[in-house]
Symmetry: C2
Subunit: 248 residues, 2 copies
DNA sequence: GATGATCCTTGACCCAGATCAAGCGCGCGA
DNA sequence: TCGCGCGCTTGATCTGGGTCAAGGATCATC
């Protein structure tokens, strides 16, 4: 429960792995220098809670490496994941003090944090930071709305296929593109986390994973290592427009 | 299917009903003048489609009066509402050409539209427009995430209660606040639209409305006119933290 | 005042996914 | 090497909400 895991890895923005995709993507080197003054790194272990819903937040920041989840919980314990934070994703909301959601590290996690006050001030004086954040927020809003369709209208099988295709697509975009060969990746989520993402129980997740495997839509090695022999097939199972993701 | 309903009501920004809440909330009068050059009003009748998903959009804009819905539809016809657009809400995404969702007028609707190109340029040169849009987008993102919890984890009865409490709260905030008396409002949505919002069928919506009525949580006069004698009770039925909305 | 059309309600039945329960397999600490 | 815990699978049963079907209420048009 102690988040004192603050490790000041001396690291500078110039060779940051998320340099070109995070909030700071469009900053010039003099602006990066100013950002470096207000920034610090924090490390979290898999399973650790980064922020509790309702806590006061005195920082905002970016995921540098690892994966975290945004979740909302009702009093009786029902929980729903409302966001999946990947490297370069932004955490926290300028202009608001309390955290609205729990943030939990799913894997080991490194975050680049900015002290909130100075960051807000800088955002006021540096338009393209706000513009970049707007862009990122609009993308997140689109993702959230896509997810509303999944939660509201898709069957359990379609939900699982949707999640797998999202993770597969993201993984492919990291490991530089190309190659129509089978897609291979490791699931970063437990069955329970998948259930929380999809509004299902973990038993249903397990059953549908088994069904997709039996039907040859995916292959499983162990519980987490997934091979997708035919991505188009997976997309069909997800109920998505088959040609959907192919533009852009 | 003809949207030629363009009616140039001569109207100026100074006495616009959403002046202080829309994207232009923080604009000075000289900036408003520039906005007036690129703006025009459009009227739609209840039921008319404002934008088809996938269409090229050459404008962005704000809802001035009336209500519209943002919906997503799968090939087989399943549809999910992903946003409810109320006066002052923003439509369209700067920096993207195609519309991502269908926008449909639920009631008669007046929109204040800006030609997209000039608006984008102005946004580049006027930081507080982007900042205001960021603020609004972050609010929408929060609303979308709240809705993900509703869609993923709530029962039919809780879903209905959640929707009613949202509409009741919004209505109260318009009719200036105060008064612990019963809240009274008209539902702006058909049972089918409510179903699309909540990921239910219209039959289930109807049954749960009847159940809430029978249990005295709401009173119904006709199909649309709702009285909420005890808002706290409604919030409990929604499964929300009873004291949730009371801060701020 | 009949004739639809639209929107809504209610009933009967069914099924996808939840719930309850048992057990497997793998990694880890003693 | 054992045992124990965690993550996962699988089976049996239950149920909330979907599906199908039959009207009712209100309104506009003839």
């Amino acid at each position: 429960m102690l988040n004192e895991d603050t490790l000041s890895i001396s690291q500078n923005c110039a060779d940051c792995p998320i340099r070109h995709r995070a909030v700071c993507a469009r900053c010039e080197s003099d602006e990066l220098e100013r950002l470096e003054d207000m920034k610090y790194y924090r490390n979290f272990e898999a399973g650790q809670t980064v922020i509790w819903s309702g806590d006061k937040m005195d920082f905002v920041g970016s995921v540098v490496s690892g994966i975290a989840t945004l979740t909302q919980t009702m009093e009786d314990g029902r929980t729903q994941m409302v966001g999946l934070l990947l490297p370069s994703d932004f955490v926290g909301r300028p202009g608001r003090d309390g955290a609205a959601y729990d943030v939990v590290a799913t894997t080991d996690l490194v975050m680049c944090c900015f002290r909130k006050k100075p960051f807000e001030e800088m955002m006021g004086r540096t338009p393209h930071i706000a513009q970049r954040l707007l862009e990122m927020t609009l993308d997140e809003l689109d993702a959230a709305r896509e997810w509303m369709l999944v939660l509201g209208r898709k069957t359990a099988r379609e939900k699982i296929a949707s999640l797998l295709s999202i993770i597969a697509r993201r993984d492919a975009s990291l490991k530089l593109a190309g190659s129509d060969g089978p897609m291979v990746f490791d699931l970063p989520l437990t069955r329970e986390a998948m259930a929380d993402y999809l509004g299902l129980t973990l038993e249903t997740v397990s059953r549908q994973m088994s069904a997709l495997k039996k039907d040859g839509v995916i292959q499983l090695e162990g519980k987490r290592h997934v091979t997708v022999p035919d991505f188009t097939r997976l997309m069909e199972e997800a109920g998505d427009d088959t040609d959907g993701g192919m533009l852009a």
